[in-house]
Assembly symmetry: C2
Homo-oligomer: 244 residues x 2
């Protein structure tokens, strides 16, 4: 496996020259579909091993722009809503030999860092707009329910857990409107809160609180195709779309 011409070896050589060593970005891309919170994962070529999307920061690029670039490549979307949530900086985050063995990459000859510190970002995206795309190291990119994520490469299960905890804590500060289509019913919004929080909420209390927060606007239309007493449609008032 000492193949300098392997695309992975060439990729890491290029990264080694143009990007900042010891530092990477990992992305937890959250979507919401059929009442379930989902995360976008990649399957590595010729394996059944999955990981989060990630990448490196160019020496001349801001960290936020690197994160945008990396997530854009996997989703097809630009100007994503991103939130930095944690730096994973342990000296030994995972067993490197075991991990690289699983994905069988010829990295022995690449001048690569012995260690990587990862800046975690999560993205809140509208599921239906994403066109999942693998990169050249991977052959499948698809959504997984957060409740059914397999054992991932690296420390990526841990990263997802920390992202989820962070999203839960910030639920009322984050523009979770990005996870929804423009219009939605109150029960749909409640289900989004419930799936993020991992617990059920009382419908009457939820309605009271969400209306009191004055973030929603009721439309004159109702959800089409539902039996009689169809629920009203709502949307977030426009200032809730503001990102940091």
């Amino acid at each position: 496996m000492n193949d300098y011409n392997h695309p992975a070896a060439r990729y890491y050589q290029e990264v080694s020259e143009q990007c900042i060593h010891y530092l990477s970005i990992d992305g937890v891309i959250f979507g919401f579909h059929q009442n379930q919170l989902k995360v976008l994962l990649l399957r590595w070529k010729g394996t059944n091993e999955w990981s989060l999307p990630g990448g490196f920061i160019r020496k001349i690029e801001s960290v936020d722009l690197a994160a945008q670039r990396i997530m854009q490549e996997r989703t097809g979307l630009d100007a994503l809503y991103l939130q930095q949530f944690h730096v994973f900086g342990e000296a030994e985050r995972y067993n490197q030999e075991e991990t690289w063995g699983k994905i069988n990459l010829p990295l022995q000859n690449v001048n690569w860092s012995a260690r990587t510190i990862s800046i975690g970002y999560y993205a809140l995206v509208e599921y239906s707009r994403v066109v999942p795309a693998p990169d050249f190291l991977t052959e499948e990119c698809r959504w997984w329910n957060v409740e059914a994520i397999p054992a991932l490469l690296f420390d990526h299960n841990h990263i997802i857990q920390v992202a989820l905890q962070s999203l839960r804590k910030q639920l009322n500060d984050q523009p979770i409107s990005h996870l929804l289509p423009e219009t939605f019913t109150i029960p749909e919004l409640q289900r989004l809160y419930e799936t993020i929080l991992g617990s059920t909420l009382d419908a009457r209390n939820f309605y009271k609180k969400i209306m009191a927060s004055d973030r929603l606007e009721r439309l004159s239309e109702r959800r089409a195709g539902t039996p009689h007493k169809a629920p009203f449609l709502y949307r977030f008032k426009s200032d809730n779309f503001t990102t940091e």
Copy 2:
């Protein structure tokens, strides 16, 4: 100023060999004294220029441990309560030439990074236990009221603002007990909340909410040396001292 033997040049040479390039840690050390929130700042040798304490991460050291080491050196305290709050990753965070000119360091000959990404940590410390200590680049280390901080070197005014915003948002999740002596009165605790939030609170509501949170324990003693109707002393229940 092409002096390889200047202690600063030797320091940066050593850092360049042993530490991770392009990456640093900046520390916002918060203390609370005489009803004021304070931050520990350093004055650079032979100048009237101030900055936050900071430092670099050794190649074999976790990011959290590097932050502990850096803050310990300036405060004399170990096992500090630290909270990572933001990565400052702009490609050009400040005018480098202007900044380095102000502190007059002979860095032309050092193989140093063109750019630094900084991981911001804040520390919550008990003011009275800190013994402020400058490093070899600085000649004074002292507390400043957050409301009276001068124009700082680098982008450190911005970093303090982001730390404060983060502390405000997380006020009820953070063990702010670390900012207080073991025992305190309710009005003292209220003043701490007010100074962090930058606004006054209604005493009766504050008392009701803080007691409802069930985080405090009332002692049988009262504050000594106060006129009659001396207020009771309280302390945080021990599980509130837990750090992440």
